[in-house]
Amino acid sequence: MTETTPPRRGVALWIQIVIWLFLVGLLVIVALGLSRRQQGTVQPGQVIDNFSLTLYSGYELDGASQVNLDDLRGKVVVINFWASWCKPCEQEAAELQQAWTEYEPTGEVMFLGVDYVDTETDARVYLKKFGITYPNGADLATKISQYFRVKAVPETYFVDKEGVLRFVQVGPFFSVDHIRAQIDPLLK
């Protein structure tokens, strides 16, 4: 038994290549987005890139209204993300200030408060209420929190003297001892 063979004229090769490239590209974009969402915060061991924090007036660092992370190399840097509307942040505010008071005279530790999607008026009320004195500023355009992949406030990042992230605290600290336990090993 015999049958006629249809001439084999499919889709042009270049069209097939373009369609497949388009689909693969789309899948890569979706996969990258999903993996980034599931990554969580930046992980300890990672060198933290430089960023600039514009400080609130009255909370400057040595009179400068802007601080760069790179300028703090050689010091342990404690980066605390907070907001005035955040109730858990209030639980650790006094502890952070107490720890800052203890470490400030050593000159080896710097605390930076990064105010996350907040209004300056309410932020100032908060800072005054808890007597916070370490440098604080707004996370403009949420660039810093996006870099650290902050999910919620409060979150605190401990960067060692070489600029390497050593510890991440998600949620509030409940005691000064808890804060000391993260800073002291980085001073040795």
């Binding site: 038994m1 015999t2 049958e3 006629t4 063979t5 249809p6 001439p7 084999r8 004229r9 499919g10 889709v11 042009a12 069209i15 373009v18 369609i19 388009f22 907001a83 005035s84 509307w85 999607v117 907040d118 209004t119 008026t121 309410d122 707004a138 403009l140 355009a141 949420t142 660039k143 996006q146």
Partner: protein, 164 residues
């Protein structure tokens, strides 16, 4: 009652009336300059909650949103325009705070181009897939080349013939 006492009482009443009038006017003037909730919400509708994704600011119940609405009210009181306020929020809190992207070229043109490209590719592919059918019918049956029938299909056909 001495005349002087009566006059003093009249002065006192007049003074109280003037004070009341002044206080009422002050309150009325203060209310007049403060933006209404509708004015605030008109702008808040164009902004999005920084904490809960995809929730417009005017209906968001969180404390963060309440503070933002107050910020809008303050800026309106200072005489800022709607565009200035939306721009301030986009610069201070990032593009995601604004419902209207600033880089319209990137936000609208790129997806539109991608859709057009996809549609063009699809049309092109469908046309190419339809061509063989036309080509097949155009070939005279006498010119058709014989092909080797699959052995399995031949056996199935034979079995079917037997059953019929």
């Amino acid at each position: 009652m001495p005349k002087r006492r009566i006059r003093n009482t009249q002065y006192a009443i007049l003074l109280i009336l003037l004070a009341t009038l002044f206080a009422t006017l002050s309150v009325a003037l203060a209310q007049g300059t403060s933006p209404t909730d509708d004015e605030v919400n008109k702008i808040a509708k164009k902004l999005y909650c920084p904490v809960c994704e995809n929730t417009p600011l005017d209906v968001c119940p969180t404390e963060a949103c309440r503070q933002w609405r107050e910020q809008i009210r303050e800026m309106l009181s200072e005489g800022k325009s709607e565009a200035e306020i939306v721009d301030y929020f986009a610069v201070t809190y990032g593009e995601r705070a604004s419902g209207d992207p600033r880089d319209k070229l990137k936000a609208y043109l790129v997806p539109a181009m991608a859709i057009l490209l996809g549609a063009a590719l699809l049309v092109s592919a469908l046309r190419a897939w339809r061509k063989p059918l036309v080509a097949e019918s155009a070939i005279p049956k006498s010119d058709a080349k014989p092909v080797q029938q699959d052995e399995y299909i031949s056996r199935v056909e034979e079995e079917l013939k037997k059953r019929n």
